[in-house]
Amino acid sequence: MAGNGIRIEHLSKRYGSGDTAVDALKDVNMEVAPGEVVGLIGPSGSGKSTLLKCLGAVIEPSGGRMLLGDDLIYDGRWRVTDIRALRRDRIGFVFQAPYLIPFLDVTDNVALPSMLAGTDNRAARTRARELLRALDVEHRAAAMPSQLSGGEQQRVAIARGLVNHPPVVLADEPTAPLDSRRALAVIRILNDMAKAFQTAIIVVTHDEKIIPTFKRLYHIRDGVTHEERGQGLSIEAEADAPAA
């Protein structure tokens, strides 16, 4: 599954119709390689969330093309029959708030997308535990979400986004509730995971603390993307301190 990347060409999205229509996305062009983490920044109302929803196949774009690896996903209409399975198997989500399922323990929270995809419970849990280990929260594997710190919850949420080894992970302001050290730790984890699983990761952010860490950024203004070079600052030193 790994190693597909994502490509978006001239994507547009119009909400509503007639006088009240809003062109949230006008001309979006992006390309993210497997193993790469790119930032998506832009002022409020510029279309970041809309873009993420299109990429995540929860709303339908109005035009343009989207490709996952060599597979055409959208070109004026959906090219996959089972959108739900697409979301489940090929796209991982990490949100601003962790949104863990409160009645499942940490392991099952992470394993759930894998179980939903039909993996048997044991194999799904084993995979979940591997990810929890990689994210340094394995010791909390049996805890309930309410017993975790904010940083731990966010790492569990990242593990959940990665458990099906999706070629694309969409992260919506994943560091917003975290202090700068924990925010950098999360970015480092995303970079490590991108390399380890050859995942293309798109991080929507306002967060000044982490913007300098991206090697490549997309800036979106009024629904139009502009590619920019980032500073690509190393985060090793700061993030080595034990996280949250």
Binding site: I59, R84, R87, Q96, L104, M115, R160
Partner: protein, 400 residues
Amino acid sequence: MISLAGRDILHAWGKFVFTGMGLGLLIGVTLTMAGVYRGMVDDARVLLDNSGADLWVVQKDTLGPYAESSSIYDDEWRGILAMRGVARAANVTYLTMQVRHGARDVRAMVTGISAGEPALPGWPPSLVAGRQITRGHYEAVADLATGFGLGDTIRIRRNHYRVVGLTRRMVSSNGDPMVFIPLRDAQEAQFLKDNDAIRQQRRRTAANPAFNRPGTPGVLEAVTESQTSNPFVNAVLVQVAPGHAPETVARGIRKWKRLTAYTREQMEAILVGKLIATSARQIGMFLVILAVVSAAIVAFIIYTLTLGKIREIAVLKLIGTRNRTIASMIIQQALALGFIGFVVGKITATFGAPYFPKYVLLEPMDSLRGLLAVALICVLASIVAIRAALKVDPAEAIGG
């Protein structure tokens, strides 16, 4: 795949158990109501069974002796006994009244049974203590439910009776315990007037020139005599001889005696279909209300629980959970709630039944029907919650 519903219930078990218990009390009341109806039907059947009769002969064109009043002459039974297919026939009277014992009184159905052997229809078929009535007057056999004991003296109208025997579960179709006394006493009790009324009647009769003719002194005496005795009974109970169909015998009685005769099935139909029909409808109405209230409670609880999980449902949908899985999670929770409620209700009803003044009969089939009804109600009640859950947009998980 793990059971999402199960995990959620385990996580919030306190909420489930407490609402389940509240619902359970409601279901307990419902089961008890059904039991009250079954008890009434059973009381009616027991009354018919214990009378030992195959046919009830009553006043022409009445639904007597239980559902309507009926009176026939107390010598009709001889003619009936002489008819083909009749093995035994006996007079019987029924009068529901307050029976005094010391300072308290008990509502009872006083039954007059004709003197003779105990095998006569109308007699209590078996006793739990003491003996049957042997003397023609002032002895009584009472049901345990009256609270009377052997040797107690009870008062019916102006006469005192000694309790010589006790029965169990001999009740009227109203659930009142029965007290058996000799027929003559019972006829008197039905008819008896106080002394003032008797004097008053004598005076009026004597003042009537038609009855008090000079030269024929016997007339007045005969008339007063006929006024103070009661030659009526409520019914004649008939046992049919082996080899004869009750309906055939009944047809003969109807034709030749100009009386109405009912078979056991007809009598049961009268008791269940007419005497307790209004009560049954009343109970049916309660059952409907209780079902609606239970459904409303389940619907409300499940809806609230679901609304509290909208965010999680959006996330579940976003990561690829089927609508079907989410709907079945909600239905399973509603069913779990209903099941807890049913168990609590069944226990409550079982332990509560003996404390009811009237017989409460909890039939296993009713419980099974109750369980099915609860399941159906729970499924229907989750529809609102399921609709709300299915409307949740996975995009909500991503937010603005």
